[in-house]
Every structure is written in C-alpha cells, then in structure tokens.
C-alpha cells in the first residue's frame, strides 16, 4: 500500500478560505469595517461621477461657507467644494499607500529572505541595518530625508517604503527561520536542490500569506502617515486634494471655519477605522496565530 501525502502549503490553505468574507461579515465589527472599505473604494473608483464639482474650481465669492444645499460639506478658503475635494482625496490616499506598502513588502521580503536563508554574517549585517532604520521614529526619518529630497508624492512614497521595510523584513526573516526547520525543506536540500529554488519555490509561497495580511493592515497606517506628511507640507502639494493638504489649509483658516478640519479629520479617522476593523477581523478569521505581530 502506498501513501502519497502532499503537503498543503499555507497559500493553498489561504486560497481554500476565500469564502472567508462571509465569516468576516458575520462579525459586527468586521461588517462595519467592510462597509467602510467598500465605500472608500467606491469613492476612489467613481470619484468623477460622485464629486458634484471640479475639485480645483475656485469660487471666491462663496469661500469659507458652512454646509449648504449647494455645497453639502461647505467650501474652503478659495471657495472650492469640500465634498469634491474629499472624494478625490481618497484617490491620493490610495495612490500613495499602495505603492509605498508594495515597496516595503518587496524590499522587506528580499532582505528577510537573504538574512533568514543565508544566515551568518549576512544575517548580522542585514539585522543591524534594519535596526538602524528602525532607530528613527518614522516621522523623523521622513523629515530628515524629505528635507533634502524636497516635497513630492514620489519622494514621499519612497520614504514611506523605506521606513516600513524593517517590519516586513523581520517577519520574513522569522518565518524563513521556522520554515527552514520543515522536513520538506530538508528533503529538498538533501536531493541537491539549489538554495535559490528552495527559497523561491518552497519557502516564499509558504510565508506569503502572513506577509500579505500584514500589508493589508499597514494600508490604513500608511494612509494616515501620508496625510500627516502632506499636512506638514512635505508630501502632496496643493492644489492636489490630499486629506493632509485639506487639513493644512483648514489649519490656516481655523478661526474662520471649522469645516475643512472637521470633514477631512473625520474622513481620515473613519477610513482608518474601517481598514483596521476589516483587517483585524480578516486576520483573526484567517490566522489566529498572527495576533500581536503588527507594528505598534
């Protein structure tokens, strides 16, 4: 009698659980999170349809107005419609967050794989470099680099990517260490498979799921971080309607109108809350072991 036991990789297990969305929706907080993320994506995709005005169209006579029938959320100091600016701001949030998280994810995976699989002195050097990047609070690191590179969306994305690399590299490295202990890796190595193949074909697919969950959970953190840098004038430049830019302009006119700060601030909080609730529920459903691995 012959047994063929095919190891199910964690990616397969991950894919088997796609109906997981139903499970997330059954939990009240997960459903709330899903609803918010869904609305965010609707705003991103249908911004030109949903926005009642051109986000950059100035209308000085009707500046600094409160909510009215013509302008549901009011207008800013140049008479621009706040609702339209906030809807378009969702696009900037996503355009900044996805590439920076991807840079961090890819950079982190490469460094983590190198450190974890080669080990020894390579591992030591990579760990020290990661510790050095982590030694700077993210905002401070971004300030130091953007002071030199100058403010722009691209520079901002690069800096955020750099600041978030250590988190992914550490998780990858730890996962590689544990994956290396697995029998299938040892079997592969004893059969003479080259390291590159073991790492790329066997270890990487097995550690990808937790990393992707981590990336999903970092999206809201990065969105608020980007808005913060834009608030300081170090990211997206006006008149592009990043939520951080709306906050900064509202701050300049805080004594004349409370509305830009109120709406942009609430939008940021609600979006972050939605992503966090959705991400945490998703993580709990998918992989309860991951609880507590998120960067504070």
């Amino acid at each position: 009698m012959e047994f063929v036991i095919r190891p199910r990789s964690r990616v397969q297990i991950f894919l088997d659980r796609i109906p997981v969305l139903g499970e997330v929706l059954q939990r009240p907080l997960g459903a709330l999170g899903f609803f918010i993320v869904f609305m965010f994506l609707v705003a991103v995709i249908f911004a030109p349809v949903l926005a009642p005005y051109d986000y950059a169209k100035q209308d000085i006579p009707s500046m600094l107005q409160g909510p009215s029938r013509a302008h549901l959320l009011g207008t800013d100091h140049l008479g621009r419609d706040l609702l339209s600016r906030i809807i378009y701001g969702s696009r900037i949030a996503l355009i900044a967050a996805v590439p920076s998280v991807s840079i961090a994810l890819i950079g982190g995976i490469i460094l983590g794989l190198l450190a974890g699989y080669i080990g020894g002195i390579v591992d030591d050097i990579i760990v020290i470099i990661l510790d050095t990047i982590k030694a700077f609070p993210a905002v401070i690191l971004a300030l130091a680099i953007l002071a030199l590179l100058g403010p722009s969306l691209v520079n901002e994305i690069l800096v955020i990517g750099l600041a978030w690399i250590p988190g992914y590299a550490r998780v990858t490295r730890a996962q590689v260490f544990s994956a290396r202990q697995n029998l299938y890796v040892e079997a592969e190595r004893s059969l003479g498979a080259p390291s590159r193949r073991i790492v790329l074909q066997h270890i990487l697919p097995n550690i990808l799921a937790p990393l992707l969950i981590l990336a999903a959970m970092d999206l809201p953190v990065v969105i608020t971080f980007e808005a913060g840098l834009s608030f300081l004038g170090l990211g997206v430049r006006p008149p592009t309607p990043s939520w951080g830019v709306i906050l900064a302009e509202g701050f300049n006119f805080i004594r004349q109108t409370p509305w830009p700060i109120t709406w942009a601030g609430l939008t940021l909080i609600i979006t972050t809350l939605g992503f966090t609730l959705f991400g945490e529920t998703l993580r709990d459903v998918l992989d309860p072991r991951l609880i507590g691995t998120r960067r504070a």
């Binding site: 907080l29 020290i128 470099i129 510790d131 050095t132 030694a135 700077f136 609070p137 993210a138 905002v139 401070i140 690191l141 300030l143 130091a144 680099i145 953007l146 002071a147 030199l148 590179l149 730890a174 260490f177 809201p220 608020t224 808005a227 913060g228 608030f231 300081l232 170090l234 906050l247 509202g250 701050f251 805080i254 004594r255 409370p258 700060i261 109120t262 601030g265 940021l268 909080i269 972050t272 809350l273 966090t276 609730l277 945490e280 609880i291 507590g292 504070a296």
Partner: protein
C-alpha cells in the same frame, strides 16, 4: 543573561554609530550643494566656501563622517550659520519641552489605558466591554495631528476654554501645565486605546492561569487577585511596548508641537527644514533617534529583568 546584555549593548552602540554615518552621508544623496541650498541664490562664493568649510563639505565623504562622529562624541553639533549660536544650545532649550510633553502623554496613556484594559478583561464580552473595544480601536486610529486639530478647534477656538498656542509665561508652572493639557491629550489618545487593548489581551491570558484560579479558590477577594497578582504579570508586555511608544510619541510630538506652536524638537526640526538649515535638521534628528534607541534599550532590559522567562526565548531566536 550577561551574554544577552553584552550582545544588546554592542548592537545598540553599532546602531548609534550607523545612524551617525547615515546622517553624515545623507547630505550627499541630493543633487546640488547643501551649503548653497542653505544660503540661497544670492550668497557670495566666499560665504558659500566658508559655510562649506564649516560644514566640512570640502573634505572627502569618509573624512566628513569621521569628523561628524568625532565632534558629536565631544558634545559639539557645530554652530548655526544664521544665528551663530551653538546648535547644542538650540537643542538644549527645545528638548526639555518635548520630553515633558512625551512623558505627560505616556503618563496619561498609562493612567487611562491600563484601568480600561483591566475593566474590559474582568468583564469579558459584556456590552460595556464591546463598547470599550470599539472606543479603543477608534482611539488607536485617531492620528495625533487629527486629535490635536480637533482639540484645538473645540477647546481653544470654539469654547475658548484652553490656551491655543505656546507654553505660557516662563516660570509660571500652573500656566505651563494649562498649556500642556491639550497637546498631551492629543498625543496620548492613540496610546490610551492601544494600552487598553494590550492590557485586556494579556490580562485575559493571565486570568486563565492556574495560580489565579488557585488564589480565587483560596477565597482571596477578586479585587485583590486582579490588582495584586494578575496585573503584575499582565503588565510585562506593556513595559516592552513603552520603549517603542516613547519613540512614536516623539514622532507624533512633531505634529502636536506645530499645531499648538510649542517650542520643542519637532518645531526645531520643522523650522530648520523650512529654512533648509540642514545642520540643525541633522543634529535634531540624531538626538531624537538617540533618545528612541536608549528608550528601547531600557524597555528591553526592564522586560528581561521583569520576566526571567523572556531571556530563554531570545537565546533561541
């Protein structure tokens, strides 16, 4: 234990050195000349040459790195080109404000977050626990600058109940504290939520341990068991995050200081960026990074000291 301590210390020193190398070399990643950018387009070539020499930009990069580290180890960050004052003096007058702000926020977060976490853990799955859970997640997701702007808008601009800018009259301590309240709360909000969740989770774990059940079975009152036996162990993970917390608070302080026009490291660095005064940016960033590194080291050491089991895990990792 001794080996771990030694390794941790060596790593810390290496990271400190590497941070200095990184900051010394950072000037070279930009196209153009840092001295020229600093002085603006109308500076004379002589002045540029003089400032270049002061910033050691006329020397080879490796020498620059060496000189930068050498000067810092001798307590000198150089002089500010515009005011002629030593940069260390500028930092000396800004740093205390930031440290006071960070510690009051951390104190506030501990005072509010821990009791909330304990309450949730002792009433698991009650409706109050669920409401607290939603509140703490919401708190975590409020960035310090949004919290700061909302507090400023409500309490300073609309209600006029609190001062909006500055740190108050010099020497007037009650006034200083009044000016500290809004910024400290703004900075603490996230951490109240975070600590509440963290303490709830670790408390729930501890409450399931045998020794707690034994204590309860022995008839020791619940309140005493919770606060005297369980909390002690449940707080250990909290100590570990406080180091990281202090660093995040230093980062968040940048926003809060700017919003409330407080003097501090954040304002110092931010204003230096606006005037492209790179030597001050570099020195300020280094000081904040050093504080962060030391805070992390202390938290790690306290963590290992408080829970002897941790050390074994580290050795295996």
């Amino acid at each position: 234990m001794r080996r771990y301590l030694l390794k941790r210390l060596v790593t810390t020193i290496l990271v400190l050195l590497l941070s200095m190398v990184f900051l010394a070399l950072l000037v070279h990643i930009v196209p153009g000349d840092a001295a020229r950018t600093l002085l603006g387009p109308r500076a004379t070539p002589e002045l540029i040459a003089k400032v270049r020499a002061e910033m050691d930009l006329d020397k080879p990069p490796m020498v620059q790195v060496g000189l930068f580290i050498w000067k810092i180890l001798h307590g000198s960050f150089g002089t500010d080109v515009f005011t002629g004052r030593p940069i260390s003096m500028l930092i000396g007058s800004a740093l205390p404000h930031t440290i006071i702000l960070a510690f009051s926020s951390l104190g506030l977060a501990v005072l509010l977050g821990i009791p909330l976490g304990v309450f949730s853990a002792t009433h698991p799955d009650s409706w109050l626990d669920r409401i607290l859970a939603l509140f703490s997640i919401s708190f975590i997701t409020i960035p310090s600058y949004v919290g700061g702007l909302f507090l400023l808008l409500i309490f300073a601009v609309q209600l006029r109940a609190m001062p909006a800018i500055g740190v108050g009259e010099p020497g007037n301590i009650p006034d200083y504290i009044r000016h500290l309240i809004l910024p400290a709360v703004a900075l603490a909000i996230t951490w109240v939520g975070y600590l509440a969740r963290l303490v709830r989770a670790s408390m729930l774990e501890v409450l399931n341990e045998n020794y707690i059940r034994a204590a309860l079975a022995a008839g020791i009152p619940l309140r005493k068991v919770v606060y005297k036996y369980a909390l002690k162990n449940a707080l250990i993970p909290t100590v570990a995050v406080l180091g990281v917390g202090l660093g995040n608070l230093m980062g968040g302080a940048v926003f809060v200081e700017i919003i409330f026009s407080r003097p501090g490291m954040g304002t110092l660095i931010y204003n230096a960026i606006q005037s492209r005064n790179y030597p001050i940016v570099r020195a300020g960033v280094l000081v904040v990074a050093c504080l962060f590194i030391v805070a992390n080291l202390l938290a790690d050491l306290a963590y290992t000291y408080l829970d002897p089991r941790i050390q074994l895990d580290k050795m295996q990792g």
